[in-house]
């Protein structure tokens, strides 16, 4: 059963709706005790990474999250929280995966936010089981995670190559919104719920 870290960073209606459609059981995690109840964790998040980090701090869950050994999936800003630092508000983040979150550069003649469907190239990680290379996912973000081959499990191009998904040990993150990415996105959620470590 999936526990969703409930820290008030954005709306999770679409995420819970997607899990319900897929018959994946889920519940909300509000405190440390509730972390124990679930086999898998999702850290959702939209909006400002720095503000999200502050809200996560307020839950008092940070140290417990860092110690987790069960599969954890950060989505969008939830993924960025796993990184070391974001240029958004010059924010220090969880530093579970030692990569940087940076702002898209408009001098690359791209529009910001990066909004819409973009293709990914993945590295055959279990999270992408059954997903073809160049499958498209729905992205909405103005900040991106730098490409680092050590932690990258899927990349995308928007002005430059960036990480669409990262992984270190039991921690996973996806920049796109699986709950809004059609059937391919649903498969990502399904694969995550089936991960065993």
């Amino acid at each position: 059963m999936i526990g969703i870290i409930n820290y008030g960073a954005g709306n999770i209606f679409s995420l819970t709706a997607a899990l319900a459609r897929l018959n994946i059981a889920y519940g909300m995690v509000n405190n440390e005790d509730e972390l124990e109840k679930y086999s898998h964790m999702i850290i959702p998040g939209v909006g400002h990474a720095g503000a999200a980090m502050e809200k996560l701090k307020d839950t008092g869950l940070i140290e417990a999250i860092k110690k987790l050994s069960k599969p954890v999936l950060g989505i969008c800003v939830g993924m960025q929280l796993l990184t070391e630092h974001s240029e958004e508000g010059d924010s220090t983040l969880l530093n579970i995966i030692p990569v940087m979150t940076k702002k898209f550069d408009k001098t690359l003649s791209i529009k910001i936010p990066h909004m819409g469907w973009n293709a990914i190239q993945h590295t055959n990680n279990s999270l992408f089981k059954g997903i073809e290379n160049n499958e498209q996912f729905y992205f909405v973000h103005s900040y991106f995670i730098e490409y680092n081959p050590t932690f990258d499990i899927a990349s995308a191009d928007y002005g430059l190559k960036f990480s669409a998904a990262i992984q270190k040990n039991n921690f996973y993150g996806v920049q796109f919104h699986p709950e809004k990415s059609g059937k391919a996105g649903e498969l990502i959620l399904k694969n995550f719920s089936n991960l065993s470590l």
Binding site: S14, M115, G116, N118, V140
Partner: protein
């Protein structure tokens, strides 16, 4: 590469879709949830729901509809119509809407754009602009083109971008309903001025019009209503046609 988006627009009144829809396998063409799911299955990249209800009960009915859509739909969707304050937007966000589009309320109170962007992020705020060419100028109109404002379209859009609009939905009232093609000239001009995505609307009549608006104006997305609802253009065919013309699409 980022795909160009195809967006069907659905008019909603009292929680039901209006305008004739003739998909053969639809049991209830007035059911926004079923219709939305059908479009998603056909390969629509996103949907826009425009609430054209005028009653006081509107908001409650609309919220219920948005929730039902969000439960079923696995692609993003935008809700527009009658949003004039933060509370309206927040209720829609919490019901599962990905974006809201604002139009006349933003003209009356431009600060609304800024407040919404601050509260929910720029990605949540679509500014819808209805424009008409009058005496050599592009002028912003309200009430479906019936009411002219003092705003010039180019200036208003630039101002909205600065205030925090995350996307522009530009409808040419001169082209809307003509089925003679999008207003590529104006769309291209506006697109050049701004650094946020722009959705072309008004004038789609055939598949070539979509190719044309992506090639000539390089817009990020194209929106249409009747050509999709009446089955005159099927989205899978349209995507294939765009792909043949080397326009990046999601298939």
């Amino acid at each position: 590469m980022l795909s160009k988006r195809i967006i069907p627009c659905l008019d909603v009144k009292d929680g039901r879709t209006v305008k004739g829809v003739n998909f053969v396998d639809l049991r209830d063409a007035g059911d926004p949830v079923e219709l939305a799911a059908q479009y998603a299955q056909q390969g629509a990249d996103e949907l826009v729901f425009l609430d054209i209800t005028a009653t006081h009960e509107r908001r409650k009915t609309m919220i219920e509809m948005v929730k039902s859509v969000a439960r079923q739909l696995n692609i993003p969707f935008t809700i527009g119509g009658g949003i004039s304050e933060i509370a309206d937007a927040e209720a829609l966000l919490n019901a599962g809407a990905d974006k809201i589009s604002i139009n006349s309320a933003a003209v009356r109170n431009p600060k609304l754009i800024e407040e919404l962007a601050k509260a929910f992020g720029v990605q949540f705020v679509v500014l819808a602009v209805d424009t008409k060419y009058i005496n050599g100028k592009n002028m912003v109109h309200l009430n479906g083109g019936r009411l002219i404002t003092e705003l010039e379209t180019e200036n208003w859009i630039k101002q909205a971008e600065d205030l925090g609009a995350g996307e522009i939905l530009l409808t040419s009232m001169d082209h809307d309903g003509t089925k003679a093609g999008f207003d590529c000239g104006l769309l291209g001009k506006i697109n050049h001025m701004i650094n946020i995505p722009i959705i072309a609307s008004g004038g789609a009549g055939n598949m070539e019009h979509f190719t044309e608006v992506f090639q000539k104006a390089n817009v990020d997305a194209a929106l249409a209503a009747s050509v999709f609802h009446y089955g005159e253009i099927l989205i899978p065919d349209l995507k294939q046609e765009l792909k043949r013309n080397h326009i990046p699409v999601r298939i």
